[in-house]
Amino acid sequence: MEPFDLFSMRESYNRQQIMLCFNGPISRSLIEEIGNALRNYLAADHAHPSSAMDVFGVYIELTQNIRHYAQQKGWTETDASATVVVARNDAGHYVVSAGNIIEQADGEALLACIDELAGLDKAALKARYKEQLRKPREAEAASGAGLGLIDIARKSSAPLQGNLRRLTDGRAFVSLRAEI
C-alpha cells in the first residue's frame, strides 16, 4: 500500500490550478451543492458575473448530461459516476472538464458530434442551437446530449475537446473539456 501522503496530490492540483474537483457517484443534490461551491469560488475569484454564469452553466450541462445518460441506460446510481474538474489555464481562462463511463458506440458518436461542432463558428452554432431547440423532445432524447453540447460549445472560447479510453465489456471512459 502506498504511504499516506496527500502532498503530491496537492502539488499536482496546485500545478494544474485546479479550483475544484470531484470523483464518484453524482446525485442531483450533489450537483447542486458542488455548483454552490463553484459559484462561491468564482465570486471569491472576482470572476465577471457573465463569465461566472458561463462556467456554472457549462458545469451544470456536463454533469446533468452524465446523469441523464445513466438514467437513459437504466444504470444504477453508482454507474452515474462522474469525474469533474474545474481549473484555470495559463491564459487565465476557466476550464471545466467532466468524464464518465459510456458505451463505446455512444462515445464514438459523441466525439464525432464534438468534432462537427468544432468546425462551426458562433453564428452557425447559434443556428444549430435554435434548430435543436425546435426538435421534439423524443428526437432530442434519441440523439443524446444534443442541445446541452451545443450550449456548452456556445459558451466556450475554444473548440470542445473530447477523449475516449476503451474499457472492457464494450464500455469506455469519455472525457470532455470546455474552455470558457
Binding site: 441523464h68 423532445r137 442541445l147
Partner: protein
Amino acid sequence: MSNFSIPGSQSTPAIGGDWDQGILSMQGDSYPENSYELFQQVFSWVERFLLEAGRPLTLELRLLYLNTSSIKAMMDIFDLLEEAHRDGKPVAVNWRYDPRNERVAELAEEFKEDCTFPFAILALDPAACAS
C-alpha cells in the same frame, strides 16, 4: 378564478400566477434535472388563462440562469403566447435583468427574436439588485 404559486428553491424559480390581474411572475435560477414536471404546471395555467380568462396576460420575469431543458420549457410557453397573439389576444412579456450580467439580456434577446408580441427587456437599477 385560480391563482397558483410555487416557492423558489436553489435550482427552481419562484413562480406565481394571478388570475384576476392576468400576471404570471417567475424569478430566480432554473436548472432542475427534470424541468418538465415543474414547467408543466406553468404551461397548463397559461394555456387555461388564454382560453378562458378573456383578459390580457403579462409575464413578469426576473429569471437568471436557465439550463437547456428550462430554456426548452420557456420556449414552449412563449410559443403559447405567440399563438394567442396571432389570434388577437393581448399578451406581453417584461423581462427585467441586472445590467451587470449581460448574459441574462442575451438569453432574453434570443427568446424575443422568435416572438412578435410586445417583449420588453428592461435593465434594473443596479442599486435595486445588490443581492
